[in-house]
Symmetry: C2
Subunit: 304 residues, 2 copies
């Protein structure tokens, strides 16, 4: 099944307690599409870049089978840029700089071949742009997932609430779930979110794992305890890419299969954080991924 | 197998986003012994109280088979008192008042029958008092667990490091593990703690679950997503009581059995937080506990 994704393709400056990386490749759609490419061959990307973006990286993505026809290249303009510094705990970070550049007036245009996508992953962007993608679809997708963040809840809540009515799965972190619903308990937050549109909710808790809620079920996936978490940038997007890529490849929306998808997403995220930027996501093998999934199974396994 | 525990038996004033409770029964040894009493009939408590402590509560504990011969009653003195206010996230709290009272010059004295205890749970107290308990044991116990907190790392680190050499299992939270070792990664923190004495480490993460480390193994137990967390006070002690009570009752120190103990401890903690004080821990049934353990199993279960 095809998986359409939209999000940034960008540059990051990153400072973690373990080192610095300057002007490395980042962006939600970069991480999402790379992670998904390990599961489904038909990944389609909608984004916008300047002519400063390295063609080698685009070639790397194409070599992984990712369709980049939906990426607009704005000549004479610069790609989106974000600079951040992580605290010692790696769960908190400060934004040092944000340069919208090409993103400032981004109007996504879907190539004809994208307009009947089976699965859709709307990466974190202004809700108006997420709307614009859904508006161009000619066939109702089997599943639409949306990632967002507290920033959009603060500055574009109405538009965000409108787009939530059009999607099936929302992926946010625990604090965002609380902010969006005013509920402290994640069980109650999930219930409130189901009245807003989505049928499923994934709550990403970083080093504390992830929760998958449906109206009738809940599943918890741990994060793997790692000796070295080098750079958390992109972990949430990598999770989403693995999750949606696995669903698109299996085309099975039973809760049991969605649980597996959460574990595959978590496994991909655990690779992502081991190196700066997309380094760890460009040359994985399926046996490596399966081995890591086995570690997730072992980590929580007990007998009565 | 017998389980000896030491800790406070005390009063708490508690404020949570869901209400207030004034001068309710609390204390580490209260929670530990109650939780353990559901698994092993031979729970022995060492503590100190003033004559203001309600005899009805002591009777409740005795009715659950708990041996209180090791509780000193100081006439004309007051029991230990703690007042705290939880933040909206329930994971952080401010201490509003601490009155040591009888705890100020507490010198624990073990009744003769306690001195050959099989299992020992040293609740959070000044490390000097934890030492004094170990000094009075006539037979080396099968397993000694110790709970402590950041406060003792700040004011009594040397004494704490000495007592760590004498124990088998340390239970602390994630921030304390990082403070004690200077390691951010919990994997590396565990490795560092194993060089300090303990053979096992339990990292309590509250609503994010718990990790059990041995030098060769790691196990993760989630926390149950609850619609209502009323009062987190005593959850860590209740966990420790369920964990050690289960180990004492099964007398099996294989890693597989310790995993089960972590789950039973987590299940007991999930009951604790549903009500103020010890209310939920006084009248549970074993089928209720087993049912809750099944929910933990279901929560993380997935098939490849």
């Amino acid at each position: 099944m095809s998986l359409l994704t939209i999000g940034t393709v960008a540059f990051d400056d990153i400072e973690t307690p373990f080192g610095r990386a300057e002007r490395v490749v980042g962006g939600a759609a970069t991480y999402i599409s790379l992670a998904a490419s390990y599961f489904t061959p038909a990944v389609q990307v909608v984004s916008v870049i300047g002519d400063d973006f390295p063609t080698e990286t685009l070639d790397d993505l194409r070599r992984r089978g990712i369709n980049l026809d939906g990426i607009q290249v704005k000549h004479g303009e610069k790609s989106f840029f974000w600079a951040g510094r992580y605290h010692n705990n790696l769960n908190d970070r400060d934004t040092l700089d944000t340069q919208l550049n090409v993103l400032a007036d981004f109007d996504p245009v879907l190539p004809e071949a994208y307009t009947n996508a089976d699965y859709v992953m709307l990466g974190n962007l202004t809700p108006a742009v997420q709307h614009r993608v859904l508006d161009q679809l000619k066939v109702k997708p089997k599943l639409v997932a949306l990632d967002t963040m507290n920033f959009w809840m603060n500055v574009a809540l109405d538009s965000l609430l409108e787009v939530l009515k059009r999607i099936d799965i929302l992926t946010i972190n625990d604090e965002e779930a609380r902010q969006l619903t005013g509920q402290h308990s994640l069980v109650n937050a999930a219930e409130a979110i189901f009245t807003m549109g989505p049928r499923f909710l994934v709550i990403k808790k970083g080093e504390h794992g992830a929760l998958l809620f449906s109206p009738d079920n809940v599943f918890f996936a741990p994060a793997l305890p790692l000796a070295q978490v080098f750079d958390p940038t992109g972990a949430g997007d990598t999770f989403a890419g693995g999750f949606m890529g696995y669903l698109a490849s299996t085309d099975d929306l039973s809760f049991d299969n969605m649980k597996r998808a959460v574990i595959f997403g978590s496994a991909m995220a655990s690779f992502c954080v081991e190196r700066f930027s997309i380094e760890r996501l460009t040359n994985l093998s399926r046996p490596e991924i399966d081995q890591r999934v086995q570690r997730f199974a072992d980590l929580v396994h007990f007998t009565r």
